[in-house]
Symmetry: C2
Subunit: 156 residues, 2 copies
């Protein structure tokens, strides 16, 4: 599967060899990568919030709005994450992140989590515009992927 291969390759390089773009060991580059991946998480949260409100019946189901949010989720979940997780950007090494050092040592579990998120987001993008029941059915795997990764790899 293309998504899986891309993410696997990206994380393998990022985790195994460090990231090679300019200044990756300097604070600004590390901080930039942290901000960028936190930005990715904010975009997840925002779009999932829209889908979740519909799934829970807090907001009326709107096929177009659901589809837009789900397509955003899919796009964000399929970003190439290689440069977002440089060596030395864990919570033991720098301020401003809750990323556990285990991210860089727990292989391939962390990649499996990223793949699960992309797979769940892709399924949500296929489902969300169909009807409310399809959207609701697709929420479980998305929430599961978020939670699984956070439980294992996000600190307090």
């Amino acid at each position: 599967m293309k998504t899986k291969v891309m993410i696997t390759a990206a994380l393998a390089i990022a985790m195994g060899a460090g990231v090679t773009f300019a200044g990756s060991h300097a604070d600004p580059a590390i901080q930039g990568a942290i901000k960028a991946r936190q930005g990715q998480m904010q975009l997840y949260a925002h779009n999932l919030g829209i889908l979740g409100a519909m799934a829970k019946g807090e907001v009326a189901y709107d096929a177009a709005a659901a589809s837009a949010a789900a397509n955003n989720l899919k796009a964000v979940a399929n970003l190439d994450a290689m440069t977002l997780w440089p060596q030395g950007s864990d919570m033991d090494s720098v301020e401003g992140t809750r990323a556990k050092a285990e991210i860089w040592t727990t292989f391939p579990a962390v990649v499996e989590n990223a793949t699960a998120m992309a797979t769940a987001a892709n399924a949500m993008a296929d489902a969300a515009g169909k009807d409310l029941a399809s959207l609701q059915a697709a929420m479980g795997p998305v929430g599961g992927a978020c939670g699984s990764c956070h439980k294992a790899f996000r600190g307090k």
Copy 2:
């Protein structure tokens, strides 16, 4: 063009009628939208930083890395922005944003800026993996789109 139509429709709805998902007038929803669009900007900045470093010769050109960054840029530039700019999320109304109120009143200039960014990012995605000269040629329109929108619509 699909991108243009989508962005136009999204911003027209967001700017004209307010956003209709749960609690859009409550602070948490406004703050969530602000964080999400700032996340989008961080992802722009991060991926443009990688491309810019290659364009300026600070980092050796790497077709795969350039292509990955450019594809990220394209994905982020083509997100549906409808829910990221709710009414009342301007810098005169809330803390934590530099978004000028003119965003919600200057129509269609703000949409033209968003369209220019998506168009430039799409062109970068086509160019970045070819060779350094193609990447460099694609930088101008991307930087121009960033700067044009910031100049008009971002406060100090």
